[in-house]
């Protein structure tokens, strides 16, 4: 049962993510999560301000269904398929995180230092979440895709633009993880 309730091995996880992409291809669609953000903007009426959002969101109902399913999937996995062992990190990572004031996971998926309700109510905590979201939303639409659209769908189809995008993901990620995060979370 450990195989189900503990952390899923990367071979199983990776295989099933690939299969998810192939299933959507078989359904005649393209796997990609960030385009839903555009659809949601259109539904909220953003088409009144710029043509980029003038699209018929009803054609994207299939994709919004995937999103709804993903939310339910997260709920099921979290409540019924977990034994609370959670993320296990190597000790170097834990020491490094503690130096910037982020606690060890101890069975949690996310650090309280960033995601707790208390943190959310501080100006700094709120700003980090909002700015992170802004960068994700702006960047994925500019690059025309995210991890699912480029790193999985695009690279699987051996697309050069997707390779360039994924290299970009890593340039940004490495800059943030190594240079900017330590500045943001420097313990005072």
């Amino acid at each position: 049962m450990e195989y189900i309730f503990g952390t899923w091995h990367w071979t199983i996880s990776g295989f099933l993510i690939g299969v998810t992409m192939l299933i959507l291809t078989y359904f005649g669609k393209t796997f990609g999560m960030s385009s839903n953000l555009r659809t949601l903007c259109s539904m909220a009426g953003a088409g009144k301000f710029t043509d980029f959002f003038k699209l018929d969101w009803r054609e994207q109902k299939w994709s919004l269904s995937v999103v709804l399913g993903a939310i339910v999937g997260g709920f099921i996995a979290y409540h019924f398929l977990s034994n609370g062992t959670g993320v296990s990190l190597n000790t170097d990572t834990i020491t490094q995180l503690q130096a910037i004031g982020i606690e060890a996971p101890n069975g949690k998926l996310l650090p309280d230092a960033i995601f707790s309700i208390e943190t959310l109510q501080t100006p700094k905590g709120f700003s980090i979440l909002l700015i992170g979201g802004l960068l994700i939303g702006f960047g994925t639409r500019y690059a025309g895709g995210c991890t699912s659209g480029h790193a999985i769908s695009g690279l699987s189809n051996l697309q050069l633009p997707s390779l360039v995008a994924v290299i970009g993901f890593f340039i940004g990620g490495l800059l943030m993880a190594h240079l900017i995060l330590p500045l943001i979370f420097k313990t005072t």
Binding site: T7, W8, W10, S13, G14, F15, I17, G18, T20, L22, L24, Y26, F27, G28, N36, L40, F52, W62, V66, L68, G69, A70, I71, G73, G74, F75, A77, V87, L110, P111, I114, T119, L120, L129, L130, I131, G132, G133, L134, L135, I136, G137, F138, G139, R141, Y142, A143, G144, L155, N157, L158, P161, V164, I171, G172, L174, L175, M176, A177, I180
Partner: protein, 137 residues
């Protein structure tokens, strides 16, 4: 119900990403610090599965669910949009540890704070829509 199969595919995706811990801020942090193989293994295996699967679909000219030929859309040509947009996304990915899929999935795990990230992501998408024609692509 026409949408049920998409909903169920989403459920599979949500369960897998949660159990793989690809929705975990910690996993993204350790990936960018090269301190674990876990995330690289996941992306690598997904890619191998995807490459083999798509090649088979193309070679065997597999028909889709509705009996139509499967068309796999090529990405638009371009360079700057992929480098700059990719880098901006990477900054956000490493900051809050979630890409768009996990943002939605984490809503399901009951993480209220992720709603702020979602609002930010919607705003970011909207700002891109406003500036699109003035940006290099």
């Amino acid at each position: 119900m026409k949408l049920a199969r998409f909903f169920l595919t989403g459920v599979l995706f949500g369960i897998v990403l949660t159990k793989a811990e690809a929705v975990s801020w910690y996993r993204i942090y350790e990936m960018f610090h090269f301190q674990s193989f876990h995330m690289f293994g996941i992306i690598g295996t997904a890619l191998c599965t995807g490459i083999v699967g798509l090649q088979l679909i193309k070679k065997k000219k597999v028909k889709d669910f509705n009996g139509f030929p499967i068309k796999i859309i090529e990405k638009e040509r371009g360079f700057w949009r992929y480098v700059i947009g990719g880098t901006i996304f990477g900054l956000g990915w490493a900051l809050v540890g979630s890409c768009p899929g996990p943002i939605f999935i984490l809503l399901g795990t009951g993480t209220y704070a992720i709603a702020i990230v979602l609002i930010g992501a919607l705003l970011g998408t909207y700002i891109y829509g406003l500036l699109k024609d003035r940006l290099p692509h």
